[in-house]
């Protein structure tokens, strides 16, 4: 029987329950699994960004030792293309075959698979597959792809334009620009990024002909969604005969949301061969086959009145979709930034236009932040440039334009309604934490010594808590974005929670358990969180977009309410009191006002299953499920401040200090909260300074391994100084908003603003990311030449 505890769990910095297995090497990641008879798949991939396949000769590969089979696209009869999960008006969609048959459209596209008894033999066989390609003209850059005369990635889309999406009242915006006192214009590039979770993607499929059951272990952030796409769309299998398990997953950052070709291929091959088939990405393969993020080219203009207030914003973006539409490709990496274009500011008129372009590059999709970093970068860069042109301190200029705290809920001019906020509060707290005035004095001193020190501010907002299903349905999503939970109290009073959210580092096994333990007044050890198994969990939408706590956590609260309600009715029956007079406190039901009349939670749970003495007509058992569909997005926000120094001789940027104040509503576990902020900052700094998923003009990748693509290392970063402000979310039961992406959204403009500030004495107004040393050096050289 569980013991009641009076411990407060919500808000406590509790060490994670899941950690013991990870720190002892006993986690279970997909590649750790090898059921008896497992064979290994190696993919044959296109080395060309665009080519016709003349022929594929697999004979030599098939005859190699240990090789079970080599399959090409022609063998995959009846396997349908990978479906698109988000539609936009007038989308010119193209089929995305899981294996190319006659044409390849990006370096890395799969043309064949070799399956052998071990990893090495599979690799040998894949290498021995001979493909005769006829290279075709190709285009890698989205802005070039939509120009006249560019090579067509797909014959049926000769101009490479998948869609054009205008948003907002163009006439009103144009009018505001006509009357503006000042217009600030910026052309900026949000470079392509490779998400680079440290665990490479992997897929293991096992088929049991006796039960006709196909089991897949995948590195997925959303196993149920993958089951649906895979069974109903690609393979045409009965959904209830497919089980998708996401065991421990080593980071996702969005790249493990979509359905991937490799997952379809191993699923198909396991059925075909009657052996478990495993594929694990080599890192160099990850660079070619994981979905990439960002890749926007934008022209943005901001109109200002005579008092330094923003009156309008006009934005045009060409977004690179890659060669095919990924699961969420037409939305998340393209127009999804539009609803955040107002930032923390009152901007009466906003117009945006997005062109989604096909190119001969790997498809793009969600990457940490997914839309919000692009919006935040754009608006926070513009705010900085505008402040400089107006001669105002960047903090003061932002303050002047903030949505005031008394105007929430705030209807923006880009459809969304901000739920709650206190922007000046977070700014002031960050300025104090950073000792902003002291920083400015240090900067003055450094400048006198001829050093280039800069300070950057970014005031970010994000939309989390994805998402009200009806609203996203209107926006083209082909799924609802609620979350489910099932709370099951066992006869001993211990509790198992089945959640549709999935933890791949976020710590749900702890934070979700904290909610349950607190609500029921039992120990954290008496709560188990189960996630990531479509065979165990009724249904779920998975984890991304900082949604797990706000949506998945709220579903748990709702299910708990139902369980508690039933338990209270049982308790009332046992105590011979009216249910409305019975309350649960610290693991025990009491009759209100009669502290000596009570019954423990565990006794009630036991009675629910004994069923010897239940209220008339009540069913035995004590469990309940809930599907929580949020009524609005949540809108976390905050202010980040950084200080950098640029070495003018080498162009190297050193981050000297980094300060963050984040407000994501109520906090369940401050340790986990801070950890999310830290990791997010590192990724944002990575985009600002290091990471670049670069392609040459025809789509040949120039960063195809960690030898070229720079991830932030410990030595690239300082320690971070963080604090929080709490403005609860008014529309979900936890009052929580989500913190998974805040750091990534805030950090990129924060660092770029600091670098530009450092170099402003040279007349440098803007630099495109990543601010690699050679690029910074080149900018300094050109600026000095202009000054001379």
């Amino acid at each position: 029987m569980v013991q009641a505890t009076g411990r407060r769990y919500i808000g406590a910095a509790i060490k994670r329950k899941e950690d013991p297995r990870f720190i002892t090497g006993r986690g279970t990641y997909v590649d750790d699994l090898a059921p008896p008879g497992t064979v290994y798949a190696a993919m044959v991939r296109s080395p060309y960004p665009h080519a016709r396949i003349r022929s594929i000769d697999t004979r030599r590969a098939r005859e190699m030792p240990g090789v079970l089979a080599v399959f090409t696209g022609a063998d995959l009869e009846g396997v349908n293309p990978n479906p698109v999960g988000w539609l936009v008006p007038e989308l010119r969609a193209v089929p995305y075959p899981v294996m190319a048959r006659d044409r390849v459209r990006y370096v890395g596209e799969i043309v064949a698979v070799a399956i052998a008894e071990d990893r090495y033999l599979a690799e040998d066989a894949a290498q021995a597959v001979e493909v005769d390609y006829e290279p075709l003209p190709a285009v890698g850059d989205a802005t070039k792809a939509v120009q006249a005369g560019a090579p067509a990635v797909h014959d049926q889309v000769p101009d490479n334009v998948a869609f054009r999406l205008p948003f907002g009242d163009q006439a009103a915006v144009d009018a505001a620009f006509t009357t503006a006192q000042r217009v600030v214009r910026l052309e900026l590039v949000n470079q392509r990024l490779v998400p680079s979770a440290i665990e490479p993607r992997a897929a293991l499929a096992s088929y049991d002909p006796a039960t006709d059951q196909l089991t897949l272990w995948l590195t997925s952030q959303n196993p149920h969604l993958i089951r649906l796409l895979l069974s109903a769309f690609v393979l045409g299998l009965p959904e209830h005969k497919v089980r998708v398990i996401s065991p421990d997953v080593g980071g996702g950052f969005g790249s493990k949301i979509p359905l991937y070709s490799e997952e379809c291929i191993v699923a198909w091959a396991a059925r075909r061969l009657g052996r478990p088939v495993k594929w694990t990405a080599k890192r160099s393969e990850s660079f070619l086959s994981d979905r990439h993020g960002r890749d926007h080219h934008t022209v943005a203009e901001m109109a200002l009145d005579g008092e330094g207030r923003v009156t309008a914003l006009r934005v045009r973006t060409v977004a690179n979709l890659g060669a095919y539409l990924s699961t969420l490709g037409p939305a998340i990496p393209t127009w999804a930034y539009i609803p955040l274009l107002s930032g923390q500011y009152v901007i009466p008129h906003i117009y945006a236009e997005v062109v989604g372009a096909y190119t001969n590059t790997p498809p793009t999709d969600a990457y940490r932040g997914a839309g919000r970093p692009e919006a935040c970068y754009l608006i926070e860069r513009l705010m900085d440039v505008a402040a400089r042109e107006l001669g105002l301190d960047p903090a003061e200029f932002r303050r002047r334009n903030f949505v005031p705290p008394d105007r929430f809920p705030y209807q923006t001019s880009v459809a969304v309604v901000y739920d709650s906020g206190n922007y000046p509060g977070a700014l002031d707290k960050a300025l104090a934490l950073a000792d902003y005035q002291g920083m400015r004095r240090q900067q003055e001193e450094a400048r006198r010594e001829g050093r280039y020190v800069g300070i950057g501010i970014s005031c970010y907002i994000e939309a989390c808590g994805f998402a009200p299903s009806k609203l996203v349905g209107q926006l083209g999503a082909q799924a609802g974005l609620w979350e489910s939970a099932l709370v099951r109290a066992h006869p001993t009073g211990r509790v198992t929670v089945l959640t549709g959210a999935h933890s791949h580092g976020q710590g749900h096994e702890t934070t979700f358990a904290q909610i349950v333990a607190e609500e029921l007044g039992i120990s954290l050890d008496d709560v188990e969180i189960v996630h990531g198994d479509s065979g165990a969990i009724p249904m779920g939408m998975g984890t991304y977009g900082s949604r797990s706590l706000a949506v998945g956590g709220s579903a748990i609260v709702r299910a708990l309410e139902r369980v508690k309600d039933k338990a209270r009715r049982i308790a009332a029956h046992l105590l011979e009191a009216a249910p409305e007079d019975v309350e649960l406190r610290e693991g025990r039901f009491y009759v209100r006002g009669v502290p000596d009349r009570g019954v423990d939670w565990a006794a009630v749970a036991l009675q629910a299953y004994l069923a010897h003495n239940l209220p008339e007509g009540m069913e035995p058992g004590l469990e309940a499920s809930a599907f929580y569909d949020p009524e609005n997005f949540t809108f976390p926000f905050g202010t980040h401040i950084s200080m950098v120094e640029v070495d003018p001789e080498t162009g190297l940027v050193k981050v000297l200090r980094y300060v963050a104040v984040d407000d994501a509503g109520n906090i369940i576990n401050p340790l986990v909260f801070e950890g999310q902020v830290h990791g997010g900052i590192a990724q944002g700094v990575g985009q600002a300074l290091l990471e670049w998923g670069r392609f040459d003009e025809d789509g040949t990748p120039l960063a195809a391994s960690f030898m070229e693509y720079a991830l932030p290392r410990a030595s690239h970063l300082p320690s971070f100084k963080t604090d929080v402000q709490v403005t609860p979310c008014p529309h979900n039961p936890l009052g929580a908003k989500g913190i998974g992406e805040a750091g990534t959204i805030a950090a990129t403009p924060c660092i770029v603003n600091a670098v530009v500030d450092a170099l402003s004495p040279l007349g440098i107004r803007h630099l495109d990311t990543p601010l690699t040393p050679p690029r910074v050096w080149e900018a300094i050289r050109q600026a000095r030449a202009r000054q001379a």
Partner: protein
Amino acid sequence: MAEKVPITVTVNGVQHRHEVEPRLLLVHYLRDVLRLTGTHVGCDTSQCGACTVLLDGQAVKSCTVLAVQADGCQVTTIEGLGSDGQLHPLQEAFWEKHGLQCGFCTPGMILAAYDLLSRRPDPSEEEVRHALEGNYCRCTGYHNIVQAVLYAAEKMRGSR
């Protein structure tokens, strides 16, 4: 296929004898042959350090060592770091300081830190950051990892 080579490797104190293909990497020997899956593979260019183990007491990237090169050697993996069912102070510290999120880089990170502390029991923050240059983490931003290593160093000095 090349002729197999007999090797004897002591892993976490247990001696193993196997005939292996010369090309078999130590990391695959540990994972696929011995089924010690705590050692991970995160890249193929010796950058990420997820595969870090101790080879004769020194941290190495087991993806860049052939199993035959480990013949006659002592290997310690994350599974063998603690003793008598007790966590090593570094494991404790990573738990205490929330120095991990997805856990994938953690075994390698802990063993790289072990190497540092065996040479420098009292490192500065900067020394910790440099010592972990060969180990990527994508989740934590390193802040809490650095805190964990400094915390472990303090605990280990105290217990001497």
